[in-house]
């Protein structure tokens, strides 16, 4: 009887040791995960969440469209053409493609046929991105264009009614306001748009740089004498 107890003693004491080890590492792991989640929630509450685990403020688009080539005036784009020359930016105005931004609520994304107006001629024939575009535009076929499923980067909640038209009009009339903002670019075609969208002309892949939260909207509305009534935006 006594020998049995002596036998079982070292065994019973070794199992709790293992348990303590497992519990300690497990607890540390859980604490670390909770810390990461808390950091994510807190940063997401204040501004933009930490860009991890698919919460990046940018997406891979179906066509890797470079705003740098189209909108920037800078010659230092880091893009080299097939013949070795350094490509300069076209410096297109934002409204060249986003045509409804000065008149309507949505900025609008150009139809694929609009892109093909230039790109059926311009650009290398074997460029993989342009091949996707030309296939979608169906330049040689008879099926008609198929829209490109662009992914939206700047998205506001459904209960917010943002209309571009009055904002563009006000900022165009008051360029000083643009200069005072965090991401405002003073010069170039994107001067007004950069107030909220940052320097898109310098982005290889469009990214949301401003939090675009209600606090930011209200601050700007208050500073510029715009209505801060709830139904100015929520209806």
């Amino acid at each position: 009887m006594a020998s049995e107890i002596d036998k079982s003693k070292p065994e019973s004491s070794s199992i709790p040791k293992l348990l303590v080890l497992v519990l300690a590492t497990g607890g540390l792991g859980v604490t670390a995960v909770m810390g990461v989640v808390a950091a994510f929630v807190i940063t997401g509450w204040i501004g933009q969440p930490v860009p991890v685990l698919g919460f990046e403020q940018t997406f891979d688009q179906p066509i890797n469209f470079p705003h740098t080539i189209h909108a920037s005036l800078s010659p230092e784009l880091g893009r080299i053409a097939a013949d070795g020359t350094n490509l300069e930016g076209l410096g297109l105005d934002c409204t060249f493609c986003h045509r409804t931004v000065t008149t309507q609520a949505n900025a609008g994304v150009p139809a694929v046929g609009f892109c093909a107006t230039c790109h059926q001629v311009i650009g290398a024939a074997d460029n993989p991105e342009l091949t996707i575009l030309r296939d979608a535009a169906d330049i040689v076929g008879d099926n008609g264009p198929e829209p490109v499923n662009w992914r939206r980067v700047h998205r506001l909640p459904d209960h917010v009614r943002f209309v571009h038209e009055p904002h563009i009009r006000y900022l165009t009339q008051n360029p000083d306001v643009v200069n005072g903002t965090t991401s405002g670019v003073k010069e170039g075609p994107a001067g007004v748009c950069s107030t909220c969208h940052g320097d898109v002309a310098a982005m290889e892949q469009v990214e949301q740089v401003e939090p675009l939260k209600m606090g930011q909207c209200v601050d700007c509305h208050r500073d510029n004498g715009a209505p801060t009534d709830c139904v100015a935006c929520h209806y």
């Binding site: 909640p157 209960h159 009614r161 038209e165 009055p166 009009r169 009534d229 709830c230 139904v231 209806y235």
Partner: protein, 248 residues
């Protein structure tokens, strides 16, 4: 110079009950305009329907001289609204343009406001709104689809007010009288419903409410509504103005 500046209007409605024929066109127009879920049979049976405007029917006179009378009732946008002070989260308030505003993203669904409203024009979303697949693309993109658990009510088609204000401002002019039509007023075949600015003494609604037939619903509560009714005049029956004002 600021044109069509915010807060320079006092929106209101004048309802000429004499012209109302009870056709329910306003009800249909409102349901379609404001993304209101369908009032299916099971919701009617549970008395949980949502209709921002309704046409109440009542009978006048004894058989066989019975006459059907109609009165459209929507949110009265009271200047002294009983629904506003009871809201714990300020989801409903009176704005500078005379609108009783419901802010959907603030609402937490206590339903105090609906209990406070004597006109029974506030509605609670007991379920997520669903539409048949064929109506999916018919939703109005200018109006928020209200989710489960929040109150909703007539907004005086505030999205149309916003749109007209924007247009007027971009064109550098004031909003013209009659430029803004709510869904119900534009659908009304007899012009019984009229929408306009009470701050402008020359507007159609300002002139209409000077009519001696004018009264407001449930006047005794002192809610001071922005919806003015013009009483029914019965040619066969001598009804004094004071008597007509008593229905409601």
């Amino acid at each position: 110079m600021t044109t069509a500046s915010f807060g320079s209007h006092n929106w209101g409605m004048v309802v000429d009950v004499d012209k109302c024929i009870g056709c329910q066109a306003c009800v249909i127009a409102c349901q379609a305009e404001n993304n209101i879920p369908l009032n299916t049979q099971d919701r009617v049976e549970r008395a949980r329907t949502i209709s921002w405007i309704r046409v109440e029917r009542y009978w006048e006179g004894d058989f066989p001289d019975t006459k059907a009378r109609f009165i459209p009732i929507m949110c009265q946008h009271c200047e002294n609204a009983p629904c506003e002070p009871v809201c714990p989260v300020f989801a409903t308030y009176h704005n500078a343009e005379g609108l009783n505003v419901q802010v959907y993203n603030r609402c937490v669904g206590t339903r105090y406001c609906a209990n406070g409203c004597p006109y029974i024009v506030r509605f609670f979303n007991y379920w997520e709104p669903v539409w048949p697949e064929s109506l999916r693309n018919h939703l109005n993109p200018d109006v928020t689809v209200r989710s489960r658990g929040i109150m909703e009510k007539c907004s005086f088609c505030v999205h149309r007010i916003r749109r007209a204000t924007r247009t007027a401002r971009s064109e550098g002019r004031e909003i013209a009288d009659g430029e803004i039509q709510t869904a119900c007023t534009s659908a009304c075949p007899t012009s019984a419903l009229n929408f306009g600015n009470f701050n402008d003494p020359n507007s159609k609604v300002s002139k209409m409410r000077e009519d001696q037939r004018h009264y407001t619903l449930l006047d005794q509560f002192g809610t001071d509504p922005n919806v003015i009714y013009l009483a029914k005049v019965d040619p066969d029956k001598k009804v004094s103005v004071g008597e007509a004002a008593s229905h409601g």
